[in-house]
């Protein structure tokens, strides 16, 4: 380690740290492929949609596409998509939190935790076409749960207005990958709650409720909100599950964009681009919020 030759090499490399000199141009070549790829396959497609959103059919500049976003069926598509993302983010978030709480602080045995983390990894990745099949076999018209409810409890879901192929059915299906994702994201945050904080609070005479309200929840809130935002984004961009479950008969932004790509159902390509652009704006807002919340939660919860 202390041979002269090594020292010479070290000296040569460490010099820029002591006295920052401009890097030789060839050092930038090392990241060239990555930036070229990002330019071609992330930046260029996004830019192209962005430009397309400001063009009419002949390619001239227009703002009409954005004005057309206020057409009732398009506002409805955004509204349904946002609602379904919100419902599954909050629902999945609460269930996921309760389960993660159980294995971290709730006193469940250690093997439950191992099993839960494996299952969460699997279930959060089990989405799309096969998930839709699974829910058709469960809650479809002749699904197992539908039949059991009908035969054993005399409850006919479909007479009561429930349909798997509607808003609530799709929400139940999304929940299947939403709450396991919550478990995966929130468990480390719950692990970060220090025992000392609880003990300090108890020594000062706090009840369990006071401790949660005044200490644990304020610390956890940014993490919980941040995780729910990720869940929101997860549902917001979902296409395959919704399409194979409803056959496209639900008015989601992703479904409309999909039909637009297949056959110009909007009769205006530019409007399709504007819709896609709108999705990116919403997602970007969400991720900015997530980033801010994460910075806040990292103040307390260091691994």
């Amino acid at each position: 380690m202390s041979s002269k030759q090594n020292f010479a090499v070290n000296e040569k490399r460490d010099a820029p740290q002591a006295r920052p000199a401009p890097l030789p141009w060839r050092h930038w070549l090392g990241v060239g492929p990555f930036f070229l790829f990002a330019f071609l396959f992330i930046f260029l497609p996004s830019l192209s949609l962005f430009i397309g959103a400001f063009q009419d059919a002949s390619g001239a500049f227009t703002l009409k596409n954005f004005a057309d976003l206020s057409r009732p069926e398009i506002v409805d598509a955004y509204w349904v998509t946002i609602r379904i993302s919100l419902v599954t983010a909050v629902g999945g978030g609460l269930l996921g939190f309760a389960m993660a709480y159980g294995v971290t602080l709730g006193g469940l045995p250690a093997w439950v935790r191992t099993a839960l983390s494996t299952f969460s990894g699997v279930a959060s990745n089990f989405a799309g076409v096969p998930l839709a099949f699974a829910f058709i076999a469960t809650l479809g018209r002749t699904g197992m749960v539908t039949l059991i409810l009908k035969l054993v409890f005399g409850l006919n879901l479909y007479d009561k207005g429930f349909s798997l192929y509607s808003f609530w059915g799709l929400s139940l299906t999304y929940l299947y990958f939403q709450f396991p994702l919550m478990v995966l994201i929130i468990t480390p945050a719950l692990d970060g709650l220090r025992r000392e904080w609880r003990e300090a609070a108890e020594n000062l005479g706090a009840t369990s409720w006071t401790y949660w309200r005044r200490v644990a929840l304020p610390i956890l809130t940014p993490s919980i909100l941040g995780a729910m935002i990720l869940l929101f984004g997860n549902a917001f961009g979902a296409y395959a599950t919704a399409l194979s479950l409803t056959g496209g008969f639900i008015n989601l932004v992703t479904i409309v964009i999909g039909s637009q790509i297949k056959g110009d159902i909007l009769h205006n390509v530019g409007l399709g681009y504007a819709m896609a652009f709108g999705m990116v704006i919403i997602m970007a807002t969400m991720m900015t919020l997530y980033y801010l919340l994460r910075r806040r939660s990292e103040r307390w919860l260091r691994p």
Partner: protein, 289 residues
């Protein structure tokens, strides 16, 4: 760790006997925990049971594996499955060649670029797959690329799209892996022995990152193999995801058996991932302390 956790409360109870209300509190807390765990497990298991049960009912009156036999006898099943495996393979290859040298290089020479590279690698979270493929078609179907005219072109686009989707996971996995090894010392040691950049990357960095690389690879495999959105617009029925979707439209029992098969695949990939990460977690813990 877990043993210490369950041991601690007992110790505390020994020295500071809890008020009786607190003990009851703890009992009800555990009860609530079991309750929510049961809800979650039921939610997880019921659809699987229902789907499995349904997949066995292809022959009237008896339970049989007929639907599975039919699926496995379908040449299109194997053709599309192998196609998607190939695409997953190329995706993993391309994203590793893209991410590993970049992450290595910014750690070693260009730490200032880190924020930008990290930001770019998170961008796929902002761009939903359907939007990405929309942009792909607009950019690459016309001049000067014309990539959607040939099947080679669409395959290239598919791999590029999957690489974009995998970017956040890959970058994070590789970067965590790099954080656990001393990149600078390894590089200097290699250089002092006369190694060039190629040797350093492929004989030192890649082997040292094998756990991170394998985790990233399995995660990519699990997401790509049944991917539908991008595949359906670029290569259509050639890929496994769109094939499953087509079966779902006209064959009820086969679609259930496909759901079970693809669930078992996901389980296999994620199980392997878990297995790998367990090793990594303990080793990185040992390295940090």
């Amino acid at each position: 760790m877990a043993a210490a956790m369950s041991f601690l409360p007992n110790l505390r109870n020994l020295f500071f006997p809890p008020a009786s209300s607190q003990a009851k509190d703890r009992g009800s807390k555990r009860g609530a925990s079991w309750f929510w765990m049961a809800v979650g497990v039921l939610y997880f298991v019921l659809p699987l049971v229902a789907t499995f049960d349904f997949s066995l009912r292809a022959r009237k009156g008896v339970l049989s594996f007929l639907a599975y036999e039919r699926v496995f006898k379908d040449p299109a099943f194997w053709k599309t499955f192998i196609f998607s495996l190939e695409m997953a393979f190329f995706t993993i290859l391309v994203s590793l060649l893209l991410v590993v040298p970049t992450a290595y290089w910014i750690r070693l020479r260009l730490p200032k670029l880190r924020v930008i590279v990290e930001f770019i690698s998170m961008l796929p979270f902002v761009i939903p797959a359907i939007v990405l493929v929309f942009g792909f078609i607009r950019v690459f179907s016309g001049a000067p690329f014309f990539l959607t005219n040939t099947s080679f072109g669409t395959n290239v686009l598919l791999v590029a799209g999957y690489t974009v989707l995998a970017l956040p996971y890959m970058f994070r996995a590789v970067d965590t892996g790099l954080a656990a090894i001393d990149v600078r010392s390894l590089t200097e040691a290699a250089q002092s022995l006369g190694a060039g950049w190629g040797t350093i990357l492929f004989k030192i960095i890649f082997p040292n990152l094998r756990v991170a690389i394998l985790s990233g690879a399995f995660l990519t495999l699990a997401t790509v193999i049944g991917e539908f959105t991008i595949a359906s617009f670029l290569v259509g029925i050639n890929a496994f995801g769109p094939y499953m979707s087509l079966i779902g439209q006209n064959k009820t029992y086969e679609s259930s058996s496909l759901a079970i098969i693809s669930f078992m695949l996901t389980w296999a990939f994620m199980g392997l991932l878990q297995f790998l990460n367990r090793g990594q977690a303990s080793s990185s813990l040992a390295g940090a302390h």
